[in-house]
Symmetry: C2
Subunit: 213 residues, 2 copies
């Protein structure tokens, strides 16, 4: 949560933590391939080829193809939790925190669509124990958003009859951006983030100031 480009939703950055260099190149290649064609339709030969290596090189750094998906999924979900947690813990009204959470989460799903797609849609290609680990991270995402909504209701800022259901809807709206967002489409990640923050504030009955940002 330190570099600027992550919060800006850049496709580029967040694999800096993966070492050595060859392992990172393989992982980035896998993200692209999984996002384009899906986990099961991607071959280990394809991944290795995109990374400029022979098929066997993959198995020096990863035990199986599934381990690659697991690593991608965990790092991605940690990033997601981080984005929401950061937004939830900034100072300001519940309204401001919710707007920040939605707009930054949407920016991540739109700008890092390749990664987000793998993270959100290839989850059940994982084995049971890996999936369980990821689902725990997902529950943390839910808890962060629900926390903001509860705060806002308590403070009288929001009017939300069904907090768990609305939490689900807010997250669902953000996550689905990764499905339809098109880099060559008419909207930038920032614009979608702003639009969605506005729509979500309407959903929870928050008072909105005039467009300030």
């Amino acid at each position: 949560m330190s570099t600027a480009e992550e919060i800006a939703g850049g496709e580029a950055a967040p694999w800096g933590e993966v070492t050595p260099d060859a392992a990172r190149r393989l992982l980035v290649a896998a993200v692209e391939a999984f996002a384009e064609r899906g986990y099961h339709a991607t071959t280990t030969r394809d991944i290795a080829g995109r990374a400029g290596m022979s098929p066997a090189a993959l198995y020096i750094h990863y035990k199986t193809k599934e381990e690659l998906l697991h690593r991608i999924s965990r790092i991605g979900h940690e990033k997601a939790v981080d984005i929401l947690r950061t937004a939830a813990r900034t100072e300001g009204t519940s309204t401001e925190r919710l707007a920040e959470a939605v707009s930054s989460f949407v920016r991540w799903h739109a700008g890092g669509r390749t990664t987000a797609r793998v993270v959100q849609y290839e989850l059940d290609s994982l084995g049971p124990e890996a999936r369980a680990e990821i689902l725990a991270l997902r529950r943390q995402c839910d808890a962060e958003v629900r926390g903001i909504l509860e705060d806002g209701v308590e403070a009288g800022e929001f009017d939300v009859p069904d907090v768990p259901g609305t939490t689900l809807a807010v997250l669902s709206l953000c996550v689905d951006v990764a499905r339809w967002f098109n880099v060559n489409g008419p909207r930038t990640p920032d614009e979608v983030g702003a639009l969605y923050a506005d729509l979500v504030l309407r959903m929870v009955g928050a008072e909105q100031k005039a467009a300030d940002a």
Copy 2:
């Protein structure tokens, strides 16, 4: 648009139009398998096995595995368009028509989750020309919802600064139900439909009557 169970969102019905019987059994088996494991992870042997037939039987009724997906996808999308069109053309205020569209569309995605999942998420396993055909149906869905929003804005019922963007968000919200809805979870399709209709009316700034249904 004629039988009750479709609008009720039943998992059961809508393949009645597929004949002969063996072809329908294969298609239903394929829907289940594709929904559970994805198109690429599903084998023709698995589909045939679920239908109680030998692997070769599939090729009497369908030319390829992809043709099965294409048929499922087209029938499913036609149903989706039908649901939205029916809601858009009922009598009543734009508010009522939007609520009906959202709640019935959500009921279909929740109750027919198996079908909806295949229809919404396996689209890009199709070849280019099949995908193009399906995308045309998808644009019809978009047009139906956008039409309701435009009517509501014109009638002064809605306050929507960005009609295309809001259309996208409304459809996205409904479609994503197929991803997270759990038949054994705490909510029925009807409940999710009602919740989402309420949330969407808030999003468009519509006046809502007290809970009537």
